[in-house]
């Protein structure tokens, strides 16, 4: 695992709030579209919001893992870390 530089830490910390909010809003938007199409009512919004929240958390975890992952050059040709 690699240590974060200060700018990478700043990038993650300023981005994850927006990422979570944007994911929930997009989930709600998808719920709205599904509701208009199927007329299932509030269930579509709820499922959309839940999916958005889950997606937001998954996005943040994935973003942090991208920064913490070892760079390809640090790995031996067989894929094992040096």
């Amino acid at each position: 695992m690699r240590e974060l530089t200060i700018w990478q830490a700043v990038a993650i910390s300023t981005q994850f709030g927006f990422l979570l909010a944007a994911s929930v809003l997009i989930g709600l938007g998808l719920g709205l579209l599904v509701d208009r199409w199927t007329h299932v009512g509030v269930i579509a919004y709820l499922v959309g919001a839940l999916l958005g929240m889950a997606s937001g958390v998954a996005s943040v975890v994935k973003l942090v893992n991208t920064f913490l992952r070892k760079k390809p050059a640090d790995e031996a040709p067989g894929g094992e870390p040096k």
Binding site: T5, W7, V10, Q15, F18, I26, L30, K62, T66, F67
Partner: protein
């Protein structure tokens, strides 16, 4: 919910908070029927400045660099290092997009504190600016500009993902994660958050300068201007680093292993 229009609502909230400020630029001219706003003019100016500095830096290239060439090489190497840290040898192929975005955003942000870029009392004495508003406005304080850059990043990331995983793999990745649609939301949320973060920070800086210049004595706003210079370069760096992270994610094949082919 049928009357829910997020862009106008956002613009209204920002208008209430920021007084004269709006989330989009004001129309200052018309070219072939298309409106040209003050933020578009500011973007063009920033592009001209970046191109001019690039041409000046590469006009007389020498093996032992000096002056502007030395400075440009230092800046490029400072960007190349994180690119290679993220993606190894492939990182060099990300540099043109990441570097262009970084230099454009930084230049546009720094130019935003120049005169003619913001509301000033003396602008109201000039007849044209009194009726049209400031002729220029920081490019990144327009949500359309930041959204356009985020859209470019989004399209490029999707292209790299298709190139790495193939068309079928890309569709499967977007629609068939456990649970389905999770990745689709995630992919759309990334450019949205990129655009909103940059716009929010630069727009807040504009409003801060506007409020401070009317509240406190002359001279003190220079402190805030210096702070805005710092914010300008930090925001450009963050946009570049996040673009790099998204590109790096896009070129990672399903299963976690890096895509081996050098592009």
């Amino acid at each position: 919910m049928e009357n829910f229009h997020p862009p106008s609502l956002l613009a209204d909230v920002i208008f209430c908070l920021g007084g004269h400020a709006e989330a989009h630029g004001e129309e200052v001219a018309c070219a072939s029927g298309l409106p040209v706003t003050n933020t578009i003019l500011a973007s063009w100016l920033a592009i001209i400045v970046v191109i001019a500095i690039s041409l000046l830096a590469t006009r007389r290239m020498a093996l032992i660099p000096g002056g502007l060439q030395n400075f440009a090489e230092m800046a490029i190497e400072a960007l190349l290092t994180p690119c290679e840290q993220f993606a190894g040898a492939r990182g060099r192929s990300f540099l043109p997009l990441v570097g262009a975005l970084f230099f454009f955003i930084m230049t546009a942000n720094w130019m935003g504190i120049l005169p003619f870029y913001a509301e000033n009392d003396w602008l109201h004495e000039v007849p044209w600016t009194a009726s049209h508003g400031p002729p220029l406005r920081s490019a990144n304080s327009d949500l359309n500009a930041t959204a356009a850059m985020a859209a470019i990043v989004f399209i490029w990331v999707q292209f790299m993902m298709i190139r790495t995983n193939g068309l079928f793999g890309w569709i499967k990745h977007l629609t068939w994660g456990p649970p389905p649609v999770l990745e689709l939301i995630s992919e759309i949320a990334r450019p949205v958050s990129l655009a909103l973060r940059l716009f929010g920070n630069i727009f807040a800086g504009e409003v801060l300068l506007l409020v401070m210049s009317s509240l406190i004595p002359p001279g003190v706003p220079f402190l805030f201007m210096a702070f805005e210079l710092f914010v300008g370069v930090v925001q450009a760096l963050i946009f570049a680093i996040l673009t790099l992270a998204f590109l790096s994610l896009a070129t990672t094949a399903h299963g976690g292993e890096e895509h081996g082919a050098a592009h």
